[in-house]
C-alpha cells in the first residue's frame, strides 16, 4: 500500500465537507474518484497534498504519517496534484521546474520536448491569461516531468478538446510505462475511464463515500447517475 486515508474530516465555513473518509491506494494501480459537483473531490485532493486543513483523521504515505507534513515536503516525497484550477501566476512552468530542480531541469525538459510540441504548449510562457485547456495541458506536462510515485489528476479531462484529450490519454499511457505511478483520476464524467481503465473506483457524494468497487461501479453510474 502506498497511501492510506483514515477517518478524514474537513470542515470549512462551519460545514463538514468531508465526513470521515477512509481510502486505500496500492502501488502502481489506477483509481477513479467520481462524484457530482460539490461532493468534496477537490477538497480531498487538496487534503492529500496538504493545502487543505483537516479537522480530524490521518494520512499515511509509504507507512509514514504525513498528516502534519507541509505540502512542499509531501511533494518531495513523491506526491503530485495536477490542479483542476491553477491560479494566475507571473511565473512560467519552466521557471517553476528550474526552481525545483535547478540546472537538472533543462535535461529533463528536453526529454519531454515531443510532448511539449504535441500538446502545443509553451512552458516558457507565464501562467497568466491561459485558457482552461492550456492550463490542464501544462499540469499534465508537469506530471510527466515530476515522475511522482502517487499522482492525483483533478478533472484532467474537463475543458479540453478532443485532440487534447487524446494527448492526455497518451501522456498517461507514457507515464504508466515510464515510471508507473499510483494514479488517482478525479472526474465527474465517466468517459475518461473508457480510455484509462481503473483498478478501483470510489464514488463520493456529500462528503462521504457512497460506493466503491471495480469498474462495474462506473457502469452503474452510467445507467443510474449518482442517485
Amino acid at each position: 500500500m502506498i497511501l492510506e486515508i483514515k477517518d478524514l474530516w474537513v470542515k470549512a465555513e462551519k460545514r463538514n465537507i468531508l465526513k470521515g473518509i477512509s481510502m486505500k491506494f496500492e502501488d502502481s494501480k489506477v483509481y477513479g474518484i467520481l462524484g457530482p459537483n460539490g461532493s468534496g473531490k477537490t477538497t480531498l485532493a487538496k487534503a492529500i497534498i496538504g493545502i487543505q486543513k483537516i479537522s480530524k483523521g490521518k494520512i499515511i504515505f509509504n507507512s509514514k504519517d504525513i498528516t502534519k507534513l507541509p505540502p512542499e515536503k509531501r511533494a518531495k516525497l513523491g506526491i503530485f496534484l495536477g490542479f483542476q484550477q491553477t491560479p494566475e501566476l507571473e511565473i512560467s512552468l519552466q521557471s517553476l521546474l528550474f526552481a525545483i530542480d535547478g540546472e537538472k531541469a533543462e535535461e529533463k525538459i528536453d526529454k519531454l520536448k515531443t510532448f511539449e510540441e504535441e500538446m502545443g504548449i509553451d512552458i516558457k510562457r507565464n501562467l497568466t491569461g491561459l485558457s482552461g485547456g492550456e492550463k490542464k495541458k501544462l499540469e499534465i506536462f508537469e506530471f510527466l516531468y515530476m515522475q511522482p510515485k502517487f499522482a492525483i489528476l483533478d478533472e484532467p479531462d474537463s475543458g479540453i478538446d478532443i485532440d487534447s484529450f487524446k494527448i492526455l490519454v497518451k501522456a498517461i499511457d507514457f507515464a504508466r510505462k515510464e515510471f508507473n505511478p499510483t494514479l488517482v483520476i478525479i472526474s465527474h464524467y465517466e468517459n475518461i475511464f473508457n480510455y484509462i481503465e481503473p483498478n478501483f473506483v470510489y464514488v463520493l457524494k456529500n462528503g462521504v463515500i457512497t460506493k466503491s468497487g471495480g469498474k462495474e461501479v462506473i457502469e452503474g453510474i452510467k445507467r443510474h447517475g449518482y442517485e
Binding site: I49, G50, I51, P70, P71, E72, R74, A75, K76, L81, F83, T86, P87, E88, L89, E90, I91, S92, S95, L96, A99, I100, K124, N126, E142, M146
Partner: protein
Amino acid sequence: MKVLKGMGMNEEKERKLAEKYLKRLDFEKKESPSGYYLNFNSLNAKDFLKESKVQKVQAEAQENSLIFLDNALSTKEKFHKVKKEKFGFDFRKDKFEAFNLAFYKNGVSTKINKDLRLFFISKTSQIVRNFFLIENSNVKIVEFYTGKGFSSISNRFLIKNSVVEHELISNNSSKSFVQDSFKLESSKLIQRSFIKARKEPNLKAFSFEVLESNVIQKASIINPGSQLWVSNFGKVEEKSSVDISLRGIFSKSSTFFESFLESDKKANGSDINIEIKGIKEKNAKVFCIPSLSIKNKNCNAKHSFSTMELENEEIEYLKAKGIDGKAVKKIIKENILRWWKL
C-alpha cells in the same frame, strides 16, 4: 566576444561584469559584429584635436561599425562645422544641445547607420548624456549602471527607418533620474528598463514623439524608495502603436506612476495601451495618475493599473509543487522582475 580596450574602461571588476552581462544577452550567438564593450566617455575635446589619435580611434570605430564623438565638442562654437560634417545637421538648432550645455559632464553623440550592438557599463555617480541618431539600421543598445551613488542619465534618440532595442539597467542607484526622449519615424523601438531603486526618490521620465512607428516600453522595478515614473507621449501620430507595461514590487513606501499621453489629430488608426501591475507588500502605497488626451476618434487608447498582494492560493499552489515558503515568495518576485526580458 570582442572587447575594445584602451577606451577608458580599465577596471577589472567592470570588465568582468560586462563580459558576464554580454554572455547573458547571448551576444556571442549572433553573427558579426560579435558584441562590443565600449565606454562612451573615451574621447575628449583635446583628444579630438590630436589628429593621429582621432584617426586611430576612427579607424577602430569604422572597423567595428561604430562612429562616436565626445559631446565636449558641443560646447565649443568652433566645432559646429565639424559636427555638421560628422552628423549631417546643426546641433545649435537642436534643443537637446541646450540641455546638454546646461548639464553636461559626460556623454557622447553617436551616429549609427549600420546594424550593430552597443554596450555601455558604468559605475557612474555622474551625469551621462548620450545622443543617438539612428537611420536605416537594426540596433541594440544596452546601458548598465552599476553605481550605488547619484546618477543621472539622459538620452536623446532620433530614430528613422530602424529597429532599435534599448535596454537600461540601473542597479542600486539612489537619488537618480533618467530622462530619455525619443523621436521615431517609420521605426520600431523596444525599450526595456530594469531598475533597482534604493532609499531615495527616483525619477524616470520618458518623452516620445511617434510617427508611423511602434513603441514597446517594458519596465521592472524593485522599489524600496519612492519612485516617480512618467511616460509622456507628447505626440502619437498616424499608423502608430504604443504599448507600455510596467511591473513593480512595492514595499514600505509611496510610489507614483504618472502617465501622460496625447494622441495627435493625425493619430488615425493608432493603438495606445498603458498597463501597470504590481505586487504590493504590506504598508506600501501606490498611486497611479493616468492622463489621456486623445484628439482623434479613431485612436484606440487604454489604461489599466492594478496591484496585488501575494495570495494564499498562489503560495499554496507553488508549495504543492515542492517549493518551500521562502522560496515561493522569492520565485514570484524574481519572475516579475525577469519578465522585462521576455
